[in-house]
């Protein structure tokens, strides 16, 4: 089953805490100038028409004996021991691709390179927050869809995190039609538009969703890392 949605900026629950952390001000007050920039960016985002999320649920699933990978529709995903352990009770997997779209990605890049890098940086951080907010929506949608069936979902996991090699993006994208939500992959597995996220969510009666996940990840310097 493949599903694709488009979103308006106003429909998304942008995580303000994430925005603050992205800008660097997780505890300190954001300087007034940057608050003005944020307001302007938010206003501009109302015009975005290419925010999109897509997912596909795979039911043909097999876990490898090495406890580090699984097969979905014949493709082996070498997610590593940590993620494999979190997913192992799943009997279905939802693969997703979400994007803030080409417009904001290009706007951020152009401002960063040229006339106003600070403004560009705020666009860049907002683009990341939008992509994550779309992923939240997709995750919520899957959760609601599974509830009547008595199934739960896991957290979402993305290539490049928790020891899952980013090169597996190619396998993940192969499960979709060409360029889901207009997102393509470079040879080095970089998503284009850059303000996009992809990953997998486990589905099953015995899987668990956990509030705190940062301790699983090896990216100690990640700006979004929580020290809880």
């Amino acid at each position: 089953m493949k599903v694709e949605f488009t979103y308006q900026f106003e429909e998304l629950a942008i995580d303000m805490d994430r925005l603050r952390k992205g800008l660097g001000y997780s505890e300190e007050p954001i300087p007034e100038l940057f608050i003005d920039y944020l307001k302007k960016v938010k206003e501009d985002c109302r015009e975005l028409t290419d925010i999109c999320g897509a997912f596909r649920i795979c039911e043909e699933l097999q876990f490898a004996d090495n406890k580090r990978s699984f097969f979905a529709d014949g493709a082996e995903f070498k997610v590593g021991r940590t993620i494999a352990q979190k997913l192992r009770k799943a009997d279905k997997m939802a693969f997703f691709v979400c994007t803030a779209g080409k417009t904001i990605s290009e706007k951020a890049s152009s401002l960063l390179k040229g006339e106003d890098p600070v403004f560009g940086y705020v666009y860049d951080i907002m683009g990341s927050a939008i992509a994550e907010a779309v992923a939240d929506e997709v995750q919520h949608h899957i959760e609601q869809q599974m509830l009547p069936l008595g199934a739960k979902i896991t957290n979402r996991y993305s290539p490049g995190y928790c020891h899952w090699n980013v090169s597996d993006q190619h396998k993940l994208f192969s499960l979709f039609d060409e360029n889901p939500c207009g997102v393509s992959l470079t040879e080095s597995a970089l998503m284009n538009p850059v303000k996009s996220v992809s990953g997998v969510i486990g589905i099953g009666q015995d899987v668990e969703f956990q509030d705190y996940q940062c301790s699983l990840c090896a990216m100690k310097d990640c700006v979004y890392r929580s020290d809880e």
Partner: protein, 223 residues
């Protein structure tokens, strides 16, 4: 007068005060910015070299240290770089004519396959503010691009940036290709997935976790 102006210019860079009209930072509202102060210094007969070493560089050094210590964040560094850029517009003709000299040349680019450039840009800004000529090759750079830039700028050091585990591997081949043609060229690497061990493994000369580290490396090896 001169010393006072240089001190003010340093503060403009440190706090990101671009020009008089700029509202940022609030505590310097209405005061002259890097643009006006650089003009005043030149009008006073102060040389571009002294403006660079006595005004811009001390300001940018404070920015680098505060950023490393998490006392300021990327938007503030970008404001500082903007202020420095305002000043450099006045100074660049002197560097081009040879009337003033920079410490050396630094070539920087994001490696083949990678399009991320915020970290690379921060390093470029900080290195330029620390007195070096910076040649920014952009993103998705092949070894040939670095080598061509080194040919045009003998003695330049090179910075390689990557954000992905899939593209950091390209650093190894690029470093080897550069060293094969220019064995003496210093190569410094940076980016989220790389570290000292990787630097050693690929034969690069330095890894820095932050922009000031690159400046410190260049100051030790080149300046």
């Amino acid at each position: 007068m001169k010393d006072e102006l240089l001190k003010k210019l340093s503060a403009c860079v440190e706090f990101g005060k671009t020009n008089k009209a700029a509202l940022y930072p609030p505590q310097m509202k209405g005061e002259d910015g890097a643009d006006e102060i650089t003009s005043q210094l030149l009008d006073e007969g102060v040389g571009a070299q002294e403006i660079l070493t006595g005004g811009l560089m001390p300001g940018m050094e404070k920015v680098g240290i505060k950023f490393r210590e998490n006392k300021i964040f990327v938007p503030q560094v970008l404001m500082s770089a903007k202020a420095m850029g305002m000043s450099m517009v006045h100074l660049k003709p002197f560097f081009i004519s040879g009337a003033a000299k920079q410490k050396g040349t630094f070539i920087i680019g994001t490696v083949q396959g990678d399009l991320h450039d915020i970290g690379k840009n921060l390093v470029a800004m900080m290195v330029e503010g620390s007195g070096y000529k910076v040649i920014d090759l952009g993103t998705d750079c092949l070894a040939e691009k670095y080598i061509a830039a080194i040919k045009e700028n003998p003695g330049a050091a090179v910075g390689l940036s990557a954000l992905l585990t899939t593209t950091m591997v390209n650093m190894e081949q690029i470093t080897k290709d550069i060293k094969a043609v220019f064995p003496e060229t210093l190569v410094t690497i940076g980016g989220a997935p790389v570290n000292d061990d990787f630097c050693l493994k690929i034969g690069a000369d330095n890894y820095s976790a932050d922009p000031q580290g690159v400046v410190d490396f260049l100051n030790t090896k080149i300046a």
